[in-house]
């Protein structure tokens, strides 16, 4: 238990509650570099909350976080970024009144040698990274409020891949994207993985998960049901984990796995 994990990022017995609701309850998870781990679960299972703890959005959580085998304190988003953890939030977290480039570089602005904002250089970089994601995107001068849902999502993704991340958290990154853009994001995930970057992918799309992920981690009511390699399960088994909390034999069960009662077995049959 007290041994340091050798995973790139690990969380141990992490918990947080909001006014009596245990949004995340004693979650332990290990995430490796060069690997895509999918985090799945029903609405309100605690996925976004877990992700936000790792990205520094919450200060008051229990448990420990390790990065590169060392225990770290992540008290705010700057800490997380300093450890190379970049996050695409489900809410996208864009400042609607600023343009795409300003959002991409928010908090890490490029500056001229006089210390002033270098908007032109930022726009140039923004054009480069957006070309990878969304080749048709041209509206660099407008506030992101004027963009479509998918374009806004592309901006949020671009922000996370713009800086050299060691670990990338994507909370439903393709929910609003068209087929071409979704394929593009899938391609980028594969590239990043090949570069040795660790990825935590939150998604409701089981097909995408099976397509992109190496491992699947299922959450239910704030707890981990189990973790399993994609090669070792079927989609139905994963659905069973999500809906019923049933852990198949190939999975490593967590505290959230339901101890199947006779009644439930009967219902399944």
């Amino acid at each position: 238990m007290d041994q340091m994990p050798d995973a790139l990022v690990a969380m141990r017995d992490v918990a947080i509650s909001f006014g009596g609701i245990h949004a995340v309850d004693r979650v332990s998870i290990e995430l490796n570099g060069g690997e895509v781990t999918a985090l799945v679960g029903h609405n309100g299972a605690g996925k976004s909350t877990l992700v936000k703890i790792l990205s520094g959005a919450y200060q008051h959580y229990a448990g420990t976080i390790f990065v590169g085998g060392k225990e770290v304190a992540i008290g705010n988003p700057r800490d997380a970024k300093a450890y190379g953890i970049e996050t695409i939030h489900q809410s996208l977290a864009l400042a609607d009144n600023l343009d795409a480039a300003a959002n991409l570089f928010l908090g890490r602005e490029l500056r001229t040698r006089w210390g002033t904002l270098d908007d032109i250089a930022m726009e140039a970089e923004a054009r480069k990274v957006m070309r990878r994601l969304s080749p048709h995107f041209e509206r660099f001068k407008e506030p992101v409020k004027a963009l479509s849902g998918g374009q806004r999502q592309s901006v949020a993704i671009a922000r996370a891949i713009l800086f050299d991340a060691r670990f990338l958290i994507m909370d439903e990154p393709t929910a609003a994207l068209g087929p071409q853009e979704t394929a593009q994001v899938g391609e980028i995930i594969r590239q990043l993985k090949a570069d040795g970057i660790g990825i935590l992918l939150v998604s409701h799309d089981i097909h995408d998960v099976f397509d992109l992920a190496d491992r699947i981690c299922v959450m239910k009511n704030g707890r981990i049901v189990g973790t399993v390699r994609v090669a070792d399960v079927t989609k139905d088994e994963v659905l069973g984990m999500i809906i019923l909390g049933n852990c198949p034999p190939s999975a490593i069960p967590g505290p959230g796995a339901s101890v199947a009662t006779n009644e439930e077995r009967g219902r399944q049959r």
């Binding site: 809410s91 977290a93 400042a95 928010l106 908090g107 002033t116 032109i120």
Partner: protein, 423 residues
């Protein structure tokens, strides 16, 4: 984008001009011409315009800070009282404290008084900002408390007595014949301003070309530059066309041993020092708001506070700094106000907070946060002052003046709202 846009819209798009700003300039022009006609040619005179510029300075200075406060979804109701309190402190420092330490009419008196006042403004503003940002008390409440506290404190300093007269050098900040920089210096300032405009435009063009970004059509660029320089030259010509009053000329002639020629002596006012300060504040604040990291964070917080925090911005500290800046500007306005009056009174600045907020809102600052420009707010201040002094020229009763200004404020906010929804 719309293909079938009218030629004017296309020109505006090509020139990347802010149509809201143009609308305000148009409204101001209409008000000026209207008053000029109604008053039988009294409004658009060098004398009236010069006075208008001096009267607008104090509100315009504070409006630049209020823009940032409102952009972060806050409000500062305390600035009028803070202005009064700090004004009293600066008055007491220059008439009581410094003379005791350094002697009367010491050449550093004005600087000591001003520095203490500005420092106090930062401290008081920062204190309110800390309560807002770190204790989570809504800024409306904190600064409403400040409104009462600082006004009471202003009375306390001298038990309500007016402090007068003030240090002669300090008084220069208030304007008047001596508090203006004269024709020669005004032209120098104008030349510098034109030079800066051309340099900025050329610099921007060069950088955009370097990155191969689309450029404005050269014709539009030249037109804009020429328009800006024409405006600067015209403004300075007006300031230089307003002569010193005969009394000041006579005193000046006596002091310098010049015998007055029979036709009198034409000494131009030039730009008033408070106006020069206001312009300087406008330039610096525009720089802060648009070219600086702090300004970028201010707007980001206004647009989405949660996103700003998730981007790693220390949002609380940014808010504290915004209130510090507001306090500093209130102190600066206080210095100008008491210098103009040649007296510090404990009621100085009463209701100033409302005029300043109105100026910012008329200038296009959104109370929902996230949007507003420094130039717009300063223009709003000039617009409101124009209304007020125009009505004074026409002999409109004071109560009716309030009614008109109030109605204009509401109308401006409504127009701005509809504009925002459409564009």
């Amino acid at each position: 984008m719309v293909q079938s846009a009218s030629p004017t819209v296309r020109f505006l798009k090509a020139a990347e001009l802010d149509s809201r700003m143009l609308g305000m300039i148009g409204a101001l022009a209409m008000i000026w011409v209207g008053f000029h006609l109604l008053s039988g040619g009294l409004f658009l005179t060098p004398r009236n315009l010069w006075n208008l510029s001096v009267q607008s300075a104090s509100v315009a200075i504070m409006a630049t800070g209020m823009v940032l406060v409102i952009v972060t979804r806050n409000i500062d109701l305390s600035i009028g009282s803070m202005l009064g309190f700090i004004g009293m402190v600066m008055g007491a420092v220059q008439t009581d404290l410094v003379p005791k330490l350094l002697g009367f009419e010491h050449s550093a008196t004005w600087a000591v008084a001003l520095a203490i006042g500005l420092g106090l403004g930062i401290v008081l503003g920062g204190f309110q900002g800390l309560v807002v940002a770190y204790l989570g008390v809504p800024s409306f409440i904190v600064t409403l408390g400040g409104l009462l506290v600082w006004r009471g404190a202003a009375w306390w300093i001298t038990s309500g007595q007016t402090i007068a007269p003030l240090d002669a050098r300090f008084r220069l900040m208030g304007g008047g014949p001596e508090g203006s920089i004269g024709a020669g210096w005004s032209w120098a300032v104008g030349a510098l301003a034109c030079f800066a405009v051309i340099l900025l435009m050329a610099g921007g063009r060069v950088r955009r070309r370097k990155f191969r970004f689309p450029l404005r059509p050269l014709a539009a660029e030249i037109f804009l530059g020429a328009a800006a320089c024409t405006f600067i030259v015209a403004a300075i010509a007006v300031a230089n066309a307003y002569p010193w009053p005969i009394g000041s000329v006579r005193r000046f002639a006596e002091a310098n041993g010049i015998s007055l020629p029979p036709g009198g002596l034409f000494i131009a006012h030039g730009i008033a020092i408070p106006v020069l300060i206001a312009i300087g504040v406008g330039v610096v604040m525009t720089f802060v708001a648009t070219r600086n990291r702090f300004g970028r964070y201010v707007y980001a917080i206004g647009g989405n506070p949660e996103a700003a925090a998730l981007a790693g911005i220390n949002t609380r500290w940014v808010i504290v700094k915004v209130f510090m800046l507001m306090g500093f500007l209130a102190a600066l306005s206080g210095a100008i106000s008491i210098a103009r009056l040649n007296a510090a009174t404990n009621s100085e600045g009463t209701l100033a907070e409302l005029l300043v907020i109105a100026a910012a809102v008329i200038g296009g600052t959104s109370l929902a946060g996230g949007a507003g420009t420094i130039a717009g707010a300063m223009l709003g201040a000039v617009l409101m002052q124009s209304l007020q002094s125009g009505m004074v020229l026409l002999g409109v009763d004071t109560p009716l003046q309030s009614i008109v200004v109030g109605a204009v404020l509401v109308a401006a906010a409504w127009l701005d709202g509809t504009y925002r929804r459409r564009v």
